[in-house]
């Protein structure tokens, strides 16, 4: 007997968005989340009393405004803090760059490095604003074949754009815009975040674009904090889904997806419970779905072979800490200072980060990694005990597997490398760190089911986006078992806390549940 119209496997943000839209449209929906809390990688946990840490995802801005509005997320606790400056980049030569919301202030900062670049920067910002105008409508719809998408536009402008976004490396792209390596390094961060590629790798200009679509409080190309932590976003999504009639269950892992006569009939939980449904939508990645949950004999071997070939390489680890005070940066002394408000990037040059990638290519954790840090407690005191601070570091590059050792064995050494690196810029770091944790790619796979520790459920390079995601021929959320869908970041438009994959999958499912018009 069918108990639900739709079972959603995994209570990550996309599964919750899908549940919200499906329930709002009248479908009977249940979300099953293995962990004791909803959110997947979009969670806030308390590893030490009073310190609320964004264990995995750490900033917001990518979530599509339509989803916030449609699901009334603000009513359910979603609140953001737009930070300013957006970036603080300290350099080893003692200089620093601050990127402010006010472009005029940013231009003054850039002038310190290059007057020519200061003149070019407004055009660069305008370029991304225009790209956002073009890309935004493609995100909230199932992907169309990429040839048709490209065919919409012809002429030299279109050719130039395709060349830049799909074929170029971040380095080559930024070289065409700017001369200062300091500025280029600061901007290149967005081209490599979460991606197992260096800034010299072709296709990274696209990743730069993917991370430039942030929209908060009417500002474009920006990031902010979710007040109370990233988990509040997922909690708001869960509450919205429940408000519209969905059931959200935590602590319920799925052991397998049930298939009979070529179509799904529901799921069996790890506790042995059978939940019947017409549709199963999996928010976990394609590899976990097809190699762990779907019976192997119901899908063609060729299909499984293609799933196996999706690139899901881990690229980063998280170093999270509870602090007694704030790090004091040599390049801008004083703590607290405005430079602690937003993102602090340790990326002295593009060569530095390319070398960090080189080490990881051959199985080593970068001896001097790129580190992106946030001290959310500076603007949001709700996440730390009075007078204390939180620090989350996204540290790259951390390959899925280490050559000659294991992540569990290497964990303390990884922490030392992170602290050594930060210490070169903020000598008091060891004095202020009270608690720390290292979340390795292996932890991300074990805890969240992110294959290889890939935070995007598959690289977001040009060969794995749009109609190539999760793989060519299977980009419309429907999978080769009737009633089975993917609804997570493994699908278009990819990773990050966007919610768009869940939105798109929900609409395809609703269309199929309704049947032919």
């Amino acid at each position: 007997m069918v108990e639900f119209d739709v079972v959603i496997v995994g209570g990550g943000h996309n599964g919750l968005v899908a549940a919200g839209y499906l329930a709002k449209a009248g479908a009977r929906v249940v979300v099953l989340e293995k962990r004791p809390l909803v959110g997947g990688a979009c969670v806030t946990e308390e590893p030490w009393p009073g310190f609320r840490i964004n264990t995995f995802a750490y900033v917001c801005g990518l979530i599509r405004p339509q989803i916030v509005e449609d699901l009334q997320l603000s009513k359910f606790g979603y609140e953001t803090i737009l930070y300013d400056p957006q970036y603080f980049v300290p350099f080893p030569d003692g200089r620093h760059l601050l990127m402010w919301l006010d472009e005029r202030k940013t231009l003054k900062q850039i002038e310190k490095f290059s007057k020519t670049d200061a003149k070019a920067y407004p055009k660069y910002v305008a370029f991304w604003n225009e790209v956002l105008e073009l890309v935004e409508p493609t995100m909230m719809a199932p992907p169309v074949p990429i040839a048709e998408l490209f065919g919409m536009f012809t002429g030299p402008d279109a050719e130039r754009l395709l060349r830049q976004l799909f074929l170029m490396s971040a380095k080559d792209f930024l070289d065409e815009w700017f001369e200062s390596d300091h500025l280029k390094a600061a901007l290149a961060t967005q081209a490599i975040i979460g991606t197992f590629n260096g800034p010299y790798s072709p296709g990274t200009a696209y990743v730069l674009g993917h991370h430039n679509i942030g929209t908060l409080d009417g500002h474009k190309e920006v990031w902010g904090y979710a007040k109370g932590g990233m988990g509040r976003i997922a909690e708001a999504m869960a509450k919205a889904a429940q408000h519209f009639g969905a059931t959200v269950r935590t602590g319920v892992g799925v052991r397998r997806i049930l298939v009979s006569k070529g179509r799904v009939t529901g799921v069996e939980t790890e506790g042995g419970e059978t939940i019947g449904a017409k549709v199963v939508a999996s928010g976990i990645d394609a590899k976990q779905t097809f190699f762990k949950l779907v019976p192997p004999d119901v899908v063609e071997p060729e299909f499984l072979d293609r799933v196996k070939k999706i690139r899901t390489r881990g690229a980063a680890l998280k170093f999270n800490a509870g602090l007694e005070g704030l790090p004091d940066y040599t390049a801008r002394p004083g703590a607290p200072g405005v430079h602690h408000n937003g993102t602090v990037d340790i990326i002295p040059s593009m060569d530095y980060v390319e070398k960090a990638y080189d080490e990881a290519k051959y199985g080593a954790f970068s001896s001097r990694p790129f580190i992106e840090t946030q001290y959310q407690s500076v603007l949001d005191p709700t996440v730390a005990p009075p007078g204390k601070h939180t620090m989350t570091c996204f540290v790259q590059y951390a390959p899925t597997e280490l050559k000659g050792t294991t992540w569990d064995a290497f964990r303390p050494k990884a922490a030392e490398i992170v602290l050594d690196t930060i210490e070169e810029y903020a000598p008091n770091i060891r004095k202020v760190v009270k608690h720390w944790q290292v979340v390795t790619p292996q932890d991300m796979e074990r805890e969240l089911g992110l294959t290889g520790g890939n935070i995007f459920q598959g690289d977001i390079t040009p060969d794995q986006v749009f109609s190539f995601r999760p793989m060519p021929g299977w980009a419309n959320y429907r999978m080769p078992v009737e009633g089975l869908y993917l609804c997570g970041s493994a699908t278009h438009p990819g990773g990050g806390v966007l919610g768009a994959p869940g939105f798109n999958a929900a609409h395809v499912i609703l269309q199929d549940l309704k049947g032919p018009a």
């Binding site: 225009e130 105008e133 073009l134 719809a141 169309v144 048709e148 002429g155 402008d157 279109a158 754009l161």
Partner: protein
Amino acid sequence: MPEGTISFEVGAPVNRVWDFLSDMRKIGQCIPGVESIEIHDERRATWHLKVKLGPLSQQIRVETESLEKVPPSRAKFIGRADNMNMTGTIVLEPRGEGTAVTYTMNVETKGPLARIMDNFMKAKLSQQTQEFASNVKKSIES
């Protein structure tokens, strides 16, 4: 289906506004992005539009046909392009010495890119209708 509506006042009597808006050439010149117009007869025209989407622009040929004319209060036309049909409705009401105009544009997208075009048009329609209103006011009042 994306829809954009705008209401605005023109400082001219309703008959003069009607004469302007029921003229295929004149109304065509107020459509944002129109580069040239070919008039075929009183009811039919071809508009050649250049539409800007982000950093790119696209040339669109729109075959336009008048569907309804109720002088001096209501007119309706349809524009057919490769990947969409646009239906425009204009309602006029005397307001003092001037005229209240309500302009509604409905867009029906078609083809494999329909969903994406829908999203494009949803984002664009408000700007398009505002620009149309501004062009009409400027043309008539000057």
